[in-house]
Symmetry: C2
């Protein structure tokens, strides 16, 4: 790419739709801001990035993304502080992970000036869409799809990178009960589970629907070979508190290397909580639930930040978790969102000003 970030071509929309939006009653991921960023890859190079009004675009029916699933994405958030400054949370991590996903799916890496630089320019333009306080954030969705034509199973030679933005309120998903996967799986050894690839999500909807029908909101996935090791949830990494130790599975080819997960680990350690990164066995969890040493389970991911889990089901038996006074989930959530929104000091250097 010969362009630099100053080369982004900006076409503004005629009139903003911001006044039509009810910011107090947002459904997650449903409404998008006025503009989007796009950048096409062809002839082996990234073309000039553009910021244009948010709008549908033309796709050929034989586009590779429709047939062979070359599609990856990221999920990030921007927060506005009391001085109206806007902050990103560890965007370098999302950028790195995006390009790792790209490599695993035989897609081209996106240049930093397009991903990070483009994102900053886009957010500048949409700064009124980022609201203050109370869990408000701008959800950021960078993604890349294969736009090349042809129904032969081979990597595309053309791609489109895009960033779209969606205003979000504090994500409260209600009381979450989970079921532990006994049969279905989300990822294979040597597969694409560690990539944030569209294909990883498509296989989860059916088992999750079955779980929903039984009254459970989510699934905690286990390793596909033995279904004995606890891995992660659909869009969250998972933490288990047994007595006063916090456990989470190591990342692997099957598990997404979550930005929230690694931040939780660092933060918990700083707060003096003992963290052990190792595989937790389903049997161990059941045993701990039975003998009362299992205190908490929570999910960690960008959308919900920290999502406490009320109980889990395994082989038809339901285990309710205790209501904790000094919940690690609550403590970590407060600290983490405090850093993200600049209400608490960021001793880690995680926040980046737009």
């Amino acid at each position: 790419m010969n362009n630099t970030i100053s080369d982004i071509k900006i076409t503004k929309c005629q009139s903003s739709k911001i006044n039509e939006v009810d910011f107090e009653n947002l459904v997650f991921g449903n409404i998008f801001t006025d503009h989007m960023l796009l950048c096409d890859y062809k002839d082996g190079v990234w073309q000039q990035p553009e910021i244009v009004p948010y709008a549908p675009f033309l796709m050929d029916p034989s586009s590779k993304v429709f047939h062979y699933g070359q599609a990856i994405f990221e999920g990030m958030k921007a927060y506005k502080d009391a001085h109206d400054d806007i902050w990103l949370f560890r965007p370098d991590q999302n950028f790195d992970r995006f390009n790792k996903s790209a490599t695993r799916l035989a897609m081209p890496e996106v240049p930093e000036e397009v991903f990070i630089g483009g994102l900053k320019q886009l957010i500048q333009l949409e700064k009124d869409w980022v609201k203050h306080g109370n869990g408000s954030a701008l959800y950021i969705r960078p993604f890349m799809i294969a736009t090349g034509h042809g129904v032969i199973a081979a990597p595309s030679t053309e791609y489109r990178f895009m960033i779209i933005l969606s205003p979000a309120k504090s994500y409260y998903s209600g009381e979450v009960k989970v079921i532990i996967a006994e049969h279905f799986s989300r990822a294979a050894n040597g597969g694409i589970g560690a990539a944030k690839a569209a294909g990883n999500y498509s296989g989860q909807f059916y088992p999750t629907k079955l779980a929903n029908e039984e009254g459970f909101q989510q699934i905690i996935w286990t390793d596909d070979a033995t279904h004995t090791k606890l891995e992660e949830a659909g869009t969250m990494n998972v933490f288990f508190r047994i007595n006063d130790v916090l456990y989470t599975a190591p990342t692997s080819e099957r598990i997404l290397d979550g930005v929230t997960r690694k931040s939780v680990i660092d933060l918990a350690k700083r707060e003096g909580i003992q963290v052990e990164v190792r595989s937790v066995l389903v049997d161990e969890l059941v045993q701990a639930a039975k003998d009362g040493s299992l205190k908490e389970i929570f999910g960690a991911g960008t959308a919900a930040v920290i999502n406490p889990i009320a109980g889990f089901s395994y082989k038809g038996e339901y285990f309710e978790l205790p209501k904790m006074e000094n919940s690690f989930a609550q403590e970590i959530k407060t600290k983490l969102t405090g850093i993200q929104t600049k209400e608490l000091e960021d001793t880690f250097g995680w926040t980046v000003k737009v």
Copy 2:
């Protein structure tokens, strides 16, 4: 759906592009006929199917297919016989498999009158695109994508089903050398490997690229848990001939239930060839290659029908296969394509007139 097949709305193109096509030099899956079928699903019902000129269509940037990979497809072929009649090969099998894929990806099933009925009407309209003889065929690509909007990981409520057609010549992919997967995998136990889902292909491109760089065209996948069992190739099921017995892996959650595969099994049996459907171990294959009992390996799939494999590599060692006088691959290919093109009697009742 309240419509019947007679309800398909047809909008013809102004002028055909058929005269611009060089039918002697077709690249597989690259050129499409003048029309396509589309049918949208919304509010819980399939809308009126339409046949319209082949053209790009508008997609919202937040369309679920781009983010969560809900996309499935089929691959079939139509042949023209000496009387100018056009024949489909076991279309019921593709229809069934399509709807099984749909269920596994939490997508709605497509009605038979849309899939089969719509296909027949579309082919009628495009009958000049189906050419006689010499491996000529019309490749048929039915597919379905999630068109609903929103970046929350949940199944779409809107879908588009489409059929596009591409004229094809006999598929000759040159001498195929394969590598046996030692690390990478295409499917998990309890995953979506048995579905013809876009997501299954996206993970294969990178390992296949690495194989290509080492001089191998394709990968034979092994089970992801142990990498000891031979499963299938990227777009073909695989057969192994050891002495005079033909082996192929049983279908499973990890393996696509190929129409060519099941036809090969029936045909081989009819020809008096002993067929055993059981897992073949990598060690067995290596042993058989070493002691000379391994006679042939071939892939079976709609695009190439039968694809003989020249040799395989495992753990850095290359095993060249013998050139066979009475090759099963050749015999089965001749018989199978003979049935498909109506040059040989179809004692199985596999062919269906359009």
